[in-house]
Structures are given as structure tokens and as C-alpha cells.
């Protein structure tokens, strides 16, 4: 099967200085890739570069056989959705309104949602369990609720690829598990391809088809969870001794 999204010799970084070089990612449609590694290793930098927020220092991102550079803004907006960790300022915006912004690539000149748009919003909100807080103002929510609203926003954008930067960091255990099943459902129903960074290794192991380990400016390992979680490796990746975290796994 042909890969849906690949990166070829991608180098990412800031202001022309590469932070991580030669990243080769290859994902089929509906696969979940998780980036793990210590803080500051460059996981967000990679995600931002794939999303086009940061200019690539070198290499290419190819989506469905096309160089991302040659894909129009509108087409990209329908292909890829993102959830970042930075807070958004949403004065007087209700959750539903925030989610509805995900329909931007589909609405007309003035951005007024039609019936199909509202249906997509409703569905996405149900999927992430934020229907009850739809009328609440977004800035009054807890961080966990905000995270779920932003996920709903990305889902109703109906992308083929979704990029998530630490999407579970503010979620409690119940919502972490629900988030997992939500991603699996999206993968199964909509063939959604997911690229995300996670700090929770146990979640990463359970949900991912592929895991990319980043350490000190290079891609240390890439493979299936079974290939990654070998004895001694996680300790090495994070620079800790294994007995300190065995209880954690």
C-alpha cells in the first residue's frame, strides 16, 4: 500500500538552524504515529514543521503523492487539522463557536455555518463529550475541557491528517482513556491519520502503530511499539535508570 504522508530527509529547526535532521516518516492512511522523547527534544518543532507553521530547513513533506509546497492553502485546510498546546484568546466565544471555527474551510464568504456544518459540529462535540458545555464561554473552562473542545474543533474540520501536540496533558485518567477510544474510533470510521506527541508512554504503547523516538537532536529509533519498548531502551532515551519507572509502566 502506498504511503499517505511521508517526510523525505526533513530537517527542522528555527531561523535556518537545524535542530533535528534527516527525519524520514512514512505513514499509511489511518495509522497513528506518536513522537516520544524528553522535554525540549524537538517533538513540537517536528509537528509544527509538518503542519507548515515552521519553514522546513531541508527536505520535503509529501501528502497523497503531492509535495506539500504545491498544495493550496484551502486544500491543506481540508487535509490537515491541528491542536496545539498554546492557549487561545477567545473573548466571549462559546465552546460551540470555537468548535465551529473548524468549519472555516467549508463555509461560504461570510463564514455562516449551514445545516451540514452544524451537523458536523454536533457530531464532533458528541465524540469528545463537550455537548453539555456547548453554550459555556470557552475561557471559563478548565484546561481539560478546553483540550477536548479544541480536539472537537480539529475533528469537525474533517481532515485526513490530524496533528496533536500533547493532547492529553490536562486530561484526567477517565478522559485520557476516552481520548484513546475516540482516536481509535476516528481511525476506524474515517481512516484518520494521526501524528502526535505524548508524554504518557503507556498510552503511546497502546494506541500507536508507529513510535518515533527523539533524543538530543536526532531520531533515535522508529518502529512499532513492540520494537521500541525493549528492555532498557526507555531508560536510555530519557536518561534514567529502569527501576525508577518500571512501576510506571
Amino acid at each position: 500500500m502506498a504511503y499517505f504522508i511521508t517526510t523525505e530527509k526533513m530537517s527542522v529547526g528555527y531561523d535556518g538552524h537545524p535542530l533535528i535532521e534527516n527525519i524520514d516518516i512514512a505513514l499509511e492512511k489511518g495509522e497513528i504515529l506518536t513522537l516520544i522523547g524528553p522535554n525540549g527534544a524537538g517533538k513540537s518543532t517536528i509537528l509544527k514543521s509538518i503542519a507548515g507553521q515552521l519553514k522546513l530547513i531541508d527536505g520535503r513533506v509529501i501528502i497523497d503523492g503531492k509535495d506539500k509546497e504545491n498544495i493550496s492553502r484551502d486544500e491543506m485546510a481540508r487535509t490537515m487539522a491541528v491542536v496545539w498546546t498554546d492557549r487561545i484568546m477567545t473573548e466571549l466565544m462559546t465552546c460551540e463557536e470555537v468548535v465551529t471555527t473548524g468549519r472555516y474551510p467549508y463555509t461560504g464568504r461570510f463564514g455562516i455555518p449551514d445545516k451540514a456544518d452544524r451537523e458536523a459540529v454536533r457530531e464532533a462535540m458528541e465524540l469528545t463529550h463537550v455537548t453539555e458545555i456547548g453554550d459555556a464561554y470557552f475561557d471559563k473552562l478548565s484546561d481539560g475541557q478546553k483540550q477536548r473542545v479544541m480536539l472537537a474543533r480539529a475533528i469537525c474540520q474533517e481532515p485526513d491528517i490530524i496533528i496533536l501536540d500533547e493532547p492529553t496533558s490536562y486530561l484526567d485518567i477517565r478522559y485520557k482513556l476516552e481520548f484513546l477510544s475516540c482516536l481509535q474510533e476516528l481511525k476506524r470510521k474515517k481512516d484518520l491519520t494521526v501524528i502526535m506527541s505524548l508524554h504518557e508512554l503507556e498510552l503511546a504503547g497502546k494506541i500507536s502503530d508507529k513510535i518515533l523516538c527523539i533524543k538530543d537532536g536526532y531520531v533515535d529509533r522508529c518502529g512499532s511499539p513492540e520494537e521500541i519498548f525493549t528492555k532498557g531502551y526507555i531508560g536510555e532515551l530519557f536518561g534514567i535508570s529502569e527501576e525508577n519507572f518500571l512501576w510506571y509502566l
Partner: protein
């Protein structure tokens, strides 16, 4: 809930619309010569009455100008606040009005000195150049500092410099005609005639329509650069358009009425509180109406409070606008603390 919200928009727009019409009538009726509403109607009907000249040549164009320019001012404030994602931005505090004033003063002094008549379009063009110069400085500073307060202080400083230059120019100009500039440079709707209205209306209307056309992009822009970009917004193009529209709107105000303080910064907050929404497609027309109402009210007070002497419009708008800005700042601070 959604129907509740729609009802609120509808009622708020009705209040704004009725308020605008009523104030327009008050502005024509009230003054050193009191004119009854009946007289206005008779005048409209073409019946000759004694006060026709006062209605048609003085008060009507002045009120229409206050309405249009007030709307333009408030809309430019709204655009600036959206652009900088900063609630206390406005054309006056960021020095954009003063920049426009400076260039208009230079052009007027130069042309009047050569006995050339200055037309409305030239005035707007001069004001636009001036506002773009100030905006350029503000943008350079905004690119270097991230702090909201520093940006505002820099804007105020730019404003002071431009105002000082204008004052010096006017003082040294000294010609009887030019002395009149002094009134204008302090901000006033007096002296606006029907000759100015067509150009003013067309320019402001075009800028208004353009702003409505980018309402959708503005909504995505409020989510922040990274989300806006992901949604397919052309950030550079949108930013450039916002800067140009702000420039045109505040330039139109300065060209005819001089710098008017606080309407641009305060009115968008008031209508936002009224609508309980920050949706651009609602905020754009609401800000425009709100700005028109504020300027009509403030001009009425400026003309009548100590008649026959007129106050400068800015001294009235400041009395109403400054507390609103303080309220916004205190409110935000409280939110951040909680």
C-alpha cells in the same frame, strides 16, 4: 440558547439603529437656535422656513459627518484591537491619528500658502499617508517588543511627537486662514459642509464593505496565528489589508474632524458588552453604529454645554471614553488574577 443569542443581536441592533436616528434628529433640533421636529419635516417637504439655512447648511451635514466619521473611528479601533490582539489599541493611543494630523497640516499649510484650494480627496490622501507613517513605526516596535503596554506607550510617544510637530508648524504659519487649523487640530466636527459629505461617505462605505468581506478571516485570526494559518488564512495578506483599512478609516476622520480621542478604543468594548459576542460579523456593523451614536452624542454635548462657545470633541469623548478604558483594563486584570 442560539435563538436567545439571535434575539439579543436583533434587539441590540434595533436599539443602536433607533438611537442613531433619534440622536440625528436631536443634533439637528438642538442648538443656540432651537428648531422643532415639525420644522425639519416642513423643510424636508420644501416649504420655505426661516431656519432652513441652519438646518441644511450647518447642522445636517455636521450631524451626518459625526455619524459617518464616528462609525469609521470605532471600526478602525476594532480592527486595531483585532490586529494586535490588544484590547486597549486604538488609532488615537497608537499615534495613528496624530501622524495623519501632522501630514494633513503640512499639506494644508503648503497648499493654502499658495492659495490652492484643498479638496476632500487630497485631505484624505494626506491623512492616509500620515497614518501609514505612524502605523509603520508602531509595527516596527510591535515586531521588537512583545509587551502590550510597551506598544501602547510607544504609540503615545509617537502621538506626542507628531502633535508637537503639528503645533510648531501651525504656530509658525501664522496666517489668518491657517490659524483656523488650530481648531481642527484639536478635533472638531464644525465647519463640515455638504461638499465634504459625498467623498467622505464613499470612502468610509467602501472601507466598511471591505471590512465586512474579511469578517470570516478575522474570526479565524482571533484564534491566533497558528490556528488561522491551519484554517487556510493568508496571514500576510490579511494583516496588510487590516493595516490599510485601519489607515483609510482613521485617515477619513482626521482629514475632516481632526484627531478624536477614545471613540476608537472604547466603543468596540461597549458594543461587545451589549452584544455579549465578539463575532466579527456582528462586531463590525455594531461598532460602526456605536461609533456613530457616540460621536453624535459627544458632538451635541460639545456644541451645547457652554454655548455659544464650543468644546473640542476630544474633551467630551475623553470624559466618556477614558472610564471605559479603565474599566476594560481593571476587568482584564481581575480575570487574570482569578
Amino acid at each position: 440558547m442560539q435563538s436567545d443569542r439571535r434575539m439579543r443581536y436583533l434587539i441590540s441592533f434595533l436599539i443602536l439603529g433607533i438611537g442613531m436616528v433619534m440622536l440625528l434628529i436631536f443634533n439637528i433640533c438642538i442648538g443656540s437656535v432651537r428648531i422643532s421636529f415639525g420644522e425639519i419635516l416642513r423643510s424636508l417637504g420644501g416649504t420655505d422656513i426661516t431656519n432652513e439655512r441652519i438646518i441644511w447648511d450647518i447642522r445636517f451635514p455636521r450631524a451626518v459627518a459625526a455619524m459617518i466619521l464616528g462609525g469609521a473611528l470605532s471600526l478602525s479601533g476594532y480592527l486595531l484591537q483585532t490586529f494586535f490582539r490588544n484590547p486597549i489599541a486604538g488609532p488615537f493611543v497608537l499615534g495613528i491619528s496624530s501622524g495623519a494630523k501632522m501630514v494633513v497640516a503640512i499639506v494644508m499649510i503648503f497648499l493654502m500658502g499658495r492659495a490652492i484650494r484643498v479638496n476632500s480627496l487630497t485631505l484624505i490622501a494626506a491623512a492616509f499617508v500620515g497614518s501609514m507613517i505612524s502605523m509603520g513605526f508602531v509595527l516596527v516596535i510591535a515586531g521588537r517588543v512583545d509587551k502590550m503596554s510597551t506598544l501602547i506607550v510607544s504609540g503615545i510617544m509617537i502621538g506626542y511627537i507628531c502633535s508637537a510637530v503639528t503645533e510648531i508648524l501651525i504656530t509658525f504659519a501664522g496666517d489668518a486662514e491657517i490659524v483656523n487649523l488650530h481648531n481642527w487640530s484639536r478635533g472638531s466636527f464644525s465647519g463640515i459642509s455638504w461638499d465634504n459629505i459625498p467623498v467622505m461617505s464613499v470612502v468610509v462605505l467602501l472601507a466598511f464593505i471591505m471590512t465586512v468581506m474579511i469578517a470570516k478571516q478575522l474570526e479565524a485570526y482571533t484564534l491566533g496565528d497558528s490556528y488561522a494559518m491551519n484554517l487556510g488564512v493568508n496571514l500576510k495578506g490579511l494583516r496588510a489589508l487590516m493595516v490599510i483599512l485601519t489607515g483609510i478609516l482613521s485617515a477619513s476622520v482626521v482629514a475632516f474632524a481632526g484627531p478624536v480621542s477614545f471613540v476608537g478604543i472604547a466603543v468596540p468594548h461597549l458594543v461587545k458588552a451589549m452584544m455579549k459576542s465578539a463575532k466579527p460579523i456582528i462586531m463590525i456593523p455594531a461598532s460602526f453604529l456605536g461609533g456613530g451614536i457616540s460621536c453624535l452624542l459627544c458632538d451635541l454635548i460639545a456644541r451645547t454645554l457652554i454655548a455659544p462657545t464650543e468644546l473640542s470633541i476630544s474633551s467630551v469623548t475623553a470624559v466618556f471614553g477614558a472610564p471605559v478604558v479603565l474599566w476594560v483594563m481593571i476587568n482584564r486584570n481581575r480575570k487574570r488574577m482569578s
